[in-house]
Structure formats: C-alpha cells, structure tokens
C-alpha cells in the first residue's frame, strides 16, 4: 500500500544531513524571530524594546534561553508526571516536523549531487501539515490537562475548541489553491505559480488562511489559550525552565512554519516577481525574505488587535470564516471547471 508518493529521493546520507540542517536552521531562526518580535513590539508602542544585552540588544534571546534552561524543573503535586514531561516535547516535535516540508528551493546541484532544498517533497504536502497541526494540539491539550491546575485546564480546553474550529477554515482556504494548482506537492504548487502568485487569484483564500493561521498558532488576537489577563498563563501556567522554553520555542517555530506555508502556497515560494530568474543559491534567501514579511505581519497584528472574547472567537470562526472559506472553495471549483 502506498500512502504517499515522494517526488525525489536522495541518498540516505543526504537525507540525514538535510534533517540536521533543517533542525539547525529552525533552531537559528527562533531566536531571530524572538528578538524581532520584542524589538518590533517596542517600536509599535513608541519604545525601543530590549537594547541592553549585546549590541542593540541582539543577545537578549540568548540571555532569555540561558535563564530558562538554568531554572529548576518544578511541577505541581497534582500533575501527571509522565504526560507533563512529554507534552512540551510533542509541541516542539510537531513544529519541527512541519518545518521539514517547506521548500526553500528546487532541486539543485550541490558539488555535483542533486539535492532538493526541502526536507521531503511528499505528494500530500498540506495533508502532512494538517496532520502535524492536529498532533500539535495534543501538546497543548496534554500539557494543560496533566498540569492538574484549573487555569491550565481552561486554557487547554479553549485551545482544543479553537484549534478544531479554525483548522476547518484553514484547510478549506487551501483547497482553492489545490484546485487551481492541481497538485498536493508543495514544490508543485510553487511551480504552478510561475505565471502568477496565488495571492492574486486566491486573495480571499489568502486572507482566510492567514486569519485561521493566527488562531492555529495561538497568536494575538486569538491567543485565548494563554490569555494572561484571565488564565495566568493558560496551558503553560505550571511550566517553568526548559519545558516552558520548549513551549515557547514551539510557539515561535509555528509562526515560522505558517509563514513558510503562506510563502509557499500564496507568495510563490522561491519565485521572484517580474520574471527575474536569479541563480539557484538565491532561492532560500527569497523564501526567508518572504517568511520575514509574513512574520512581521504576525507581530504587527499582535501590536494592533486586542484579544477576542471566547464567544466572539467561536462565532467568528464558525459563522464568518467557515462560510467565507466554503464560498471561496465553491467559486474556485466552478471557475476551474469552467475554464478547463
């Protein structure tokens, strides 16, 4: 039984190197987005943000991580030890796994060996993504529940309802793109955008996907799972030290993953606009640049919008976003059928 086709297989040793490189790149990008978020939030609020540690505060995330990792691992007596320890690992694992399918470039010759600049190019790209998104929900759910604290539990419950509600719209928003591209492979979707990026024909899909992604990554204005004003810290209230760092890491990595998916699916991946075809080694930088723009938007929205109420969140997700996503899919389906 074949579950999924893989477009291009490398030698096993290239796969191993690629896995290490992807994990390393993910690890390097998280501190960058951490400091970027704090600096930009500062700018949006008319202040500087952290600027004491290192030149322009650039070493602040290092100091933060060092502080968190040297802290004591404590857990409440009411918690369930095994799950309490496993939950952050699930979060971090799914985030890194989802990062693996983001294509940073096409197959390229590196020292005479053809290597695809992505973890793996599966023929079920978005499905893989949503599968890991669904597993990531266990990280939050188990973490909140096994803490044995009412605030964690409330946060986890909200998280569960929110992730399920918005995953539907997120998936439906991508369906339009898949119709138009006619493939589920992410590199295939990028190559299908050679003429025009999907942000233009699938503009509503783009907006819906972006909004649903804010909810999926638990970012403002949908950060009800960790609403610090009412739930102390939400699902990670009882976490401290390295385990909290894992949750933190996973949260920001999720932002990067979503930025990467938006880049790949709507912003033409490694393609440059106006028909510019740079040499292959530029492709990853093009992708990173586009990811930075989307991540900037995430931070911008966080600085702008207040947190939604729980009933607003639910009614927005089910009554507005889902019908719009369905309509978008329907119209796309009709147009694709008519034009072919």
């Amino acid at each position: 039984m074949i579950l999924a086709d893989v477009a291009y297989y490398e030698e096993w040793w290239i796969q191993v190197i690629k896995a290490i490189v992807i994990f390393a790149v993910a690890l390097q990008l998280v501190p960058v987005i951490l400091i970027a978020e704090r600096k930009l939030l500062g700018r949006f609020q008319g202040r500087y943000g952290p600027n004491r540690v290192g030149p322009y505060g650039a070493l602040q995330p290092l100091a933060d991580i060092l502080k968190l990792l040297t802290k004591e691992h404590s857990r409440p007596t009411t918690s369930i030890g095994f799950l309490f320890a496993v939950a952050p690992m699930i979060s971090i694992l799914t985030a890194v796994a989802a990062f693996a399918i983001i294509p940073f470039g096409n197959v390229q010759n590196i020292f005479g060996t053809p290597v695809g600049l992505y973890g793996i190019d599966v023929s079920i790209g978005p499905l893989y993504l949503f599968a890991f998104g669904a597993v990531a929900f266990y990280g939050i759910m188990l973490g909140g529940w096994s803490s044995g604290s009412k605030y964690s539990f409330l946060g986890a419950m909200r998280g569960a309802a929110q992730l399920i509600s918005y995953e539907v719209s997120q998936g439906l928003a991508l369906v339009g793109v898949i119709f138009t591209a006619g493939t589920l492979s992410l590199t295939g979707i990028v190559q299908a955008q050679a003429g025009m990026w999907y942000i233009v024909p699938q503009f509503f899909g783009f907006i819906i996907f972006l909004v649903a992604s804010f909810a999926e990554t638990n970012r403002a204005p949908f950060d009800l799972t960790e609403a610090d004003a009412e739930l102390v810290g939400g699902y990670n209230t009882e976490y401290g030290g390295g385990r909290f760092a894992s949750y933190f890491f996973a949260e920001y990595l999720n932002v990067l993953v979503v930025s990467g998916i938006v880049t790949t699916v709507f912003l033409g991946g490694w393609m440059m606009p106006f028909g510019i075809h740079p040499p292959g080694w530029v492709d990853p930088f093009v992708v990173l640049f586009k990811m930075a723009i989307i991540s900037f938007f995430f931070i911008w929205v966080r600085a702008t919008l207040p947190r939604l109420r729980y009933d607003q969140l639910m009614s927005f997700g089910w009554k507005i976003l889902l019908p719009l996503a369905t309509l978008n899919t329907l119209v796309t389906a009709i147009l694709v059928t008519v034009t072919h």
Binding site: R43, F44, Q45, G46, Y48, A303, T304, L305, S315, I320
Partner: protein
C-alpha cells in the same frame, strides 16, 4: 414651519449590528485602520528617554539637593567666608524637621562665616527632606539654596545625612539644565 434644531443637535449614525455580516465587514475595515495606526507609530519612532545616558533637563527653579554657599574669593571684605551664620531659621521653617544646626561664635583667629556666629554643625537628613524649599525662603543670607541634583539614592540611610562639608562642596552637576524655550 418645522422647528429647525440648528447645529446643536448631533445626528447619531448607528453602525451595523456587531454580530451580523455588516458588523464583520466593518470590523475588517476597523482592523485595517488599526494596522495603519500602529504602523504610523512605528514610523514615528520611539519616544523613550534612555535614562542613565540621557536625562530630562530640569527647569531653573527645580528644587533638588540643597547647596550651602560661600562668598567669592574675589570679594576682599569676606574672603572665602561661609554665608551661613548659624541662625537656625531654616531648621525652624523646615516642615519635615530634617535640618540640624549647631551654632558657634566666630573668633578673630578662627573666622569662618561673615556674621558673628557660624554653623559648627549643619546637617540635612535627605531621607526626610520633602524638597519644599522653605529653608531657601527662610534664609536671610541666601546661604542655602536648592540645587538641581535629583539622583540621591544610596545604599545606607546614614549616608543620606548630608554634612556641612558635603553641602558646601561643589556638587557634581549630574542634571542638565533646561535652556530658554526648551
């Protein structure tokens, strides 16, 4: 003829209901407006004053740490004498009771102040001082004035009792003075 309310009456234009489709449409527009506002704040740049490096300049009449004064060296009648004559009017005027003055007689061999007596002990307990400036007003010889220094924290309460020597010494001006029109 219908009554004309004029321009005093404000017409209330009600927006669409928040939960309905019109409300969602408007919320989208308002979101964009909010994004514009925050972006404008970013373009505007930070308004922070980086305190230990940058300081807010104070006005000339700012009441900071006290100073005791001497006559100028150039004055031949009172060469470098203290202005304070130990009258204790400042201590009497002080609402916080933080000034302690012990006066002593000037002698021809040991002439310290311009008057008959001088302040043998002059202490201000800055941990009690409320910086009201009454001592400055009470002083008949302008011997005590309020300076511009406001960075007065210390590690020990006893270090905040400023003696005469400390008040007479030329203070390190750590505070910029606000210029005309600033």
């Amino acid at each position: 003829m219908p009554w004309d309310p004029g321009k005093d009456v404000v017409e209330v234009v009600r927006g669409p209901r928040p939960g309905a489709a019109g409300g969602a449409y408007r919320a989208f527009g308002e979101t964009l407006r909010g994004l514009k506002t925050t972006f404008a704040r970013m373009i505007e740049g930070p308004h922070t004053i980086q305190y230990p490096e940058q300081k807010v300049p104070v006005y000339p009449r700012f009441r900071g740490r006290h100073k005791l004064h001497r006559f100028d060296d150039s004055d031949p009648t009172h060469p470098n004498l203290e202005k304070c004559v130990g009258c204790s009017l400042c201590a009497a005027a002080c609402p916080a009771d933080c000034i302690r003055v012990v006066a002593a007689e000037n002698t021809p061999e040991n002439r310290i102040s311009a008057g008959e007596r001088y302040a043998a002990v002059y202490e201000i307990n800055l941990s009690r001082c409320i910086f009201c400036g009454y001592c400055e007003i009470a002083c008949p010889f302008d011997a005590i004035t309020m300076g511009h220094d406001y960075e007065l924290s210390d590690y020990d309460r006893s270090d905040l009792i400023f003696t005469k020597e400390m008040l007479l010494a030329e203070p390190v001006e750590r505070t910029p003075l606000r210029n005309e029109g600033e």
